[in-house]
């Protein structure tokens, strides 16, 4: 019990350190949030331009509004999941860049403690980012959220984050194994997920190979659940099978991620890859 409490206290070291880093890199944070807002707005604006793109009134205003909401949810949820994934997978590349990786790895904390601290920070950081983007989107577009079931959407997002954390931990092994290009390799994982998870179109509309692949991505189910809750007002009663599935995926993917990372750490210590600072 004391050990667990001690490890939990130690995990706060990573939260506090990352908050301090965000404060120090505030200029970069402003640039980053401006970039993500611009990206999200650009995606949502596609809905507004559909009719002029096909040069006919293919969609009614109601359908355009629906498409705006569909794309806005995709952009927001994906941004949140991408931030969580990126912060978790960056826990190694950041330390390589700063040159602190050896110090952190010889500290008397379990790797799971390291990951819990990083994950806690990533969830809070991702949520703050997403709320800022949401506020801007609401200001620019007149979103119809009258039917939205926010608690159900929040539950899907919270439970769905677990799977992404697991995949993020697996992704973090790449900078550990490949000091020079490992960080960039994690972007490949992200790009693959954005392609197959139905971020901007329904998986049902995807070409068959992608549609099949979409079934193995947890993000597909997170997006489907949140869209259902926010666009159709689906409640927790109807969403519980999805929540159970996402919870099960998270409970499998996090230990698998930790196991994969542990293997990567042993490999790095055997081959001397911790030292190179990329």
């Amino acid at each position: 019990m004391t050990t667990t409490a001690g490890e939990l206290r130690a995990s706060y070291a990573f939260v506090e350190r990352n908050i301090n880093l965000v404060k120090r890199y505030w200029g970069w944070e402003i640039v980053w949030i401006a970039y993500t807002i611009a990206n999200s707005l650009a995606v949502v604006l596609i809905a507004r331009g559909v009719n002029s793109a096909v040069q006919e009134d293919a969609l009614t205003q109601a359908n355009i509004d629906k498409l705006v909401l569909f794309l806005a949810i995709g952009a927001l949820v994906w941004h949140y999941l991408a931030v969580v994934f990126e912060v978790v997978s960056e826990m190694i590349s950041w330390e390589r860049w700063e040159g602190t990786i050896e110090y952190t790895f010889m500290a008397p904390v379990r790797r799971s403690t390291h990951m819990i601290g990083t994950t806690l920070f990533s969830l809070v950081y991702g949520m703050v980012h997403t709320v800022v983007i949401l506020l801007v989107i609401v200001l620019v577009f007149d979103l119809d959220m009258s039917r939205a079931n926010f608690p159900a959407a929040a539950a899907v997002l919270a439970v769905g984050s677990l799977s992404l954390v697991g995949i993020g931990i697996m992704g973090a092994v790449l900078p550990l194994l490949y000091p020079e290009r490992g960080a960039q390799m994690t972007h490949v994982v992200q790009a693959g997920m954005v392609l197959i998870s139905g971020v901007y179109i329904s998986p049902a509309e995807m070409p068959e190979p992608l549609h099949t692949l979409s079934k193995i991505s947890p993000a597909t189910y997170v997006l489907a659940g949140i869209r259902s809750a926010l666009m159709e007002g689906t409640g927790l009663t109807e969403l519980w099978p999805l929540l159970v599935g996402l919870l099960a995926a998270g409970l499998v993917l996090i230990p698998v991620g930790v196991h994969v990372f542990g293997w990567g750490e042993r490999y790095a210590k055997r081959t001397g890859r911790l030292k190179r600072s990329g």
Partner: protein, 350 residues
């Protein structure tokens, strides 16, 4: 100069019986007595175990060429095989050792070669050697940052591979590169370290200020970003960070490189004090022969991954004779035993 002997591996008299009051450490919010007094600790695996036992440790790094280079070599090798008729069909042995390239495949670098040393509790043990001869690799092996290929390392009786969690609680390391989050202030970096090591936050703040002051850092420096500090100042913060966690064993890998003489002496005095007051065991690598001479109880000289001499500074100096009849210095011993020039640049190990 000629080597005359290199036999004495006993701990010097000066280090025996230097027990003082135990150090209080505020760990996990509680005041505890740190496990560093010889024979009085429950935190160590074996109360009688030496601080450090390195037994027959070998570490080899294998460097594979890139995929394209391997394909090109394979193609060249196939072409050569086709034009030759030696009938063996063999293409050579596995990668060679000591930096030789084996058959165009992997390059094997033996960084540490069958090293055995024992460091007693409370001892300041020096490890000297030319650049790239395995000093830092050995420190990394002890620090649990590398896994040995062969042999065994125990810190206060704990095996660094099987019981790394216990080892990590007992050690800290200062490396030649002061590794910090450069945008953060010294205090923020030190608080990060304190939390990782379970040191109470309030105690850590007070202790950080005390140690930094002792090392000659001004109070206002504690709230300036690390990136605005000189290398010497950064190194002092690195040393403060190590001392803050009250390690039973301190691994100092060229800790005074880049420091001015005044700062260097402050660090040396602090290391001696912490050993005297808290019985901390210190493993020190340095290129400063004077520092090694005045600081270390015993010194091992390592060359090409092997220990070539191990003795007290006086004992080592007794092993060589100078051509002009003057009393040999540690530098004379070093040059005689390693046959290389002294360099002050950073170690260029793999």
């Amino acid at each position: 100069m000629t080597v005359t002997s290199q036999t004495d591996t006993q701990a010097p008299e000066t280090m025996i019986g230097q027990l003082n009051e135990p150090m209080e450490a505020h760990v996990n919010g509680q005041v505890t007595v740190a496990a560093r007094s010889r024979g009085s600790s429950s935190a160590v695996a074996d109360d009688h175990a030496p601080a450090l036992e390195v037994q027959g440790v070998t570490k080899v790094f294998v460097k594979s060429p890139g995929l394209l280079a391997r394909i090109r070599r394979r193609a060249r090798s196939n072409g050569a095989s086709a034009s030759q008729t030696n009938g063996t069909g063999k293409t050579g042995g596995a990668g060679a050792t000591n930096g030789a390239l084996g058959n165009g495949d992997a390059k094997r670098v033996v960084a540490v070669d069958n090293v055995s040393i024992t460091v007693e509790r409370g001892e300041i043990f020096g490890l000297l050697g030319p650049n790239g001869t395995g000093k830092s690799t050995l420190i990394r092996l002890i620090s649990t940052l590398l896994l040995p290929d062969d042999g065994r390392i125990c810190v206060f009786g704990y095996d660094v591979v099987r019981e790394d969690a216990q080892v990590k609680r007992l050690i800290n390391r200062v490396s030649v590169e002061a590794s910090f989050f450069k945008k953060l202030t010294p205090m923020e970096n030190l608080m990060y370290a304190a939390r990782l090591y379970g040191v109470d936050a309030r105690h850590a703040r007070e202790e950080s200020m005390r140690i930094m002051k002792r090392l000659g850092l001004e109070e206002r420096s504690a709230s300036e970003p690390m990136e605005d500090m000189s290398r010497g100042m950064q190194q002092k913060v690195a040393i403060a960070r190590a001392f803050l966690t009250s390690p039973s064993m301190l691994l100092l890998d060229e800790p005074t490189t880049g420091l001015d003489p005044h700062s260097k002496r402050a660090v040396q005095a602090f290391v001696r004090d912490i050993r005297r007051e808290h019985d901390t065991t210190v493993l020190l690598t340095t290129h400063d022969m004077y520092e090694a001479d005045v600081m270390c109880d015993r010194i091992a000289i390592i060359d090409k991954g092997r220990i070539v001499a191990l003795d007290t500074p006086t004992g080592l100096k007794g092993q060589v004779r100078t051509d002009d009849g003057r009393e040999p210095s540690l530098e004379d011993v070093f040059l005689e035993l390693t046959g290389r020039e002294l360099k002050n640049d950073e170690e260029a190990e793999s």
